[in-house]
Point group: C2
Chain length 150, copies 2
């Protein structure tokens, strides 16, 4: 794994990130990899917000993983800052080699650096393998994640 | 409910918000209502971030409800912006009178105004009454919420 770099995403990474987002059986219907325009528009909103940290894992010049960290200052939990992790994906070629663990351990360490005392994420109920993975990493599935489309 | 106002929170609301946060059996051990200093420090971080919307419901000059909306621009879901709702509390005097529903309907409408296409929240597994409440409001408990303390 010596050649792996985890770094902030750049606009040049967008096609590879979208390919990873769309290469997922749960999420494929939500993405439009043949029309990247909405992703470039979203990038403008992300880049304008210093609390957003879209990130990529790169090996030999190829994006092989991605996630986004969002820093959320709040009053609850005695004024705790939390980090929310969204859009975690690992390339199918790279599953089972520890990249997911490295990526999430990096996310936890980066969250500490960003001042967070809590890291949280939600995972679709159907992703039972992912749930075991997050539990091994020290996460507790203590909550139900509710979503409503607008 | 004619005298109810839902508005952005101000620093003057912090003692009342903290009292609401602490008056909760699940969360009481996480709060320090006798020492507000960490909350005022957290307020500085919240106020510096235009994507944070701490909010209060006020009736007859008294804070009777609170929640925080956090706007998160992202790449996933074709560049969707989502709103995360945290720290939802309703005063015990006001339960069962529809205030919770009004507050959450306000949160959904405000999220639309803020450009979100998805609203999400997590609720402790033990809050089964709250889960039915969110489902009645059109939320789906499709995810497991994982948290890790740092």
């Amino acid at each position: 794994m010596n050649d792996l770099v985890i770094r902030p995403a750049t606009p040049e990474d967008i096609p590879a990130i979208v390919a990873l987002l769309a290469a997922d059986s749960v999420a494929v219907s939500r993405e439009s990899p043949d029309d990247l325009a909405p992703y470039y528009e979203a990038w403008e909103r992300i880049a304008a917000d210093p609390n957003q940290h879209p990130s990529v894992a790169v090996r030999a010049g190829r994006v092989v993983g991605t996630l986004q960290l969002s820093v959320i200052p709040g009053l609850s939990r005695t004024g705790a800052t939390r980090v929310i992790v969204e859009a975690v994906r690992v390339h199918s070629d790279e599953r089972g080699n520890g990249l997911g663990t490295l990526l999430m351990e990096w996310a936890v360490e980066r969250s500490r650096e960003l001042g967070a005392s809590l890291v949280q994420l939600t995972s679709d109920r159907s992703r039972t393998g992912a749930h075991r993975f997050y539990e091994r990493l020290g996460f507790t599935g203590s909550h139900i994640g509710f979503k409503r489309q607008l």
